[in-house]
Symmetry: C2
Subunit: 166 residues, 2 copies
Amino acid sequence: MANHRLDALDRKILKLISADARIPFLEVARACNVSGAAIHQRIQKLTSLGILKGSQFIIDPEKVGYETCAYVGLYLKDPSEFDAVVEKLKAIPEVTECHYTTGGYDMFIKIYSRNNHHLLNIIHDKLQPLGLSRSETIVSFNAVIDRQLPIFDNTDEEEDEDDGED
Amino acid sequence: MANHRLDALDRKILKLISADARIPFLEVARACNVSGAAIHQRIQKLTSLGILKGSQFIIDPEKVGYETCAYVGLYLKDPSEFDAVVEKLKAIPEVTECHYTTGGYDMFIKIYSRNNHHLLNIIHDKLQPLGLSRSETIVSFNAVIDRQLPIFDNTDEEEDEDDGED
DNA sequence: ATTGAAAATGTACGAGA
DNA sequence: TCTCGTACATTTTCAAT
């Protein structure tokens, strides 16, 4: 249910356009030895299947004034308030991710802030009022890897690498 | 040093193209009431300044067979091996982020895996051999927010909101 | 930043395997 | 059903202003 059959052409297309959304489809076509129309239709198909969810230019957060990146694990006073808290988190633009987790935290979020001071303000002024019993902050001093999940040559059929074995 | 002055046009362009990398520049131009060439030049400028770092199509990880997302905090046996470990992490495609942190962990990484079982394999077979003394895994059951940092109307000049104050 | 024009691309349509 | 080839509208890109 989660994954669809992707053939070699699909994967090659995904690999190319996931690395550069502005690449001309005709260039993709030449790299794949098919016509431009074929690429066009494949991309439409991949989009309608929900595999492709749009595109975006990547903006360097530091260059637009966001020098601090942090992950914050949240413990809710009332975990049943989860959905309401998520809605409030959506209204905080600095929160770019929110994960529902178990084990460690009730929820786990990613925050970009201008600096450490700004981060503290966000936590105190915007996060705490949501009904936190506690929070743990992990500040990233440097993102040494930040990339997209690569497209492999086998996406759902074989698991004959050591990765998927028992 | 980290941020450059962005005027209203820059920010409007960034806002539009960060939401859709395939948007025609002429459409951006019409939305901004300037010529297409102006957009073209601005985007070149933003790219050469390093503010724009390319573009990408967004692929739904679940739809290509990656149903588990986890964050793992790593403790290195020998923290001075940091750089070498990062290089080895780069060779693990499932690792999409790596942060240098202090306080909690030596480093903090994001992993996509096919399922929980695959995640354990990655941790045991690929991460442990890097020289970990310990690791803590946070599994995300659901990413309820996942978005890009928005472009605000003031990126570096004013801090007159409550966010950046003392 | 604008204009204008040439080159390249995006997209639709019909045909064929 | 999928791909291709063509045709036309649009966009990209670059000059000079």
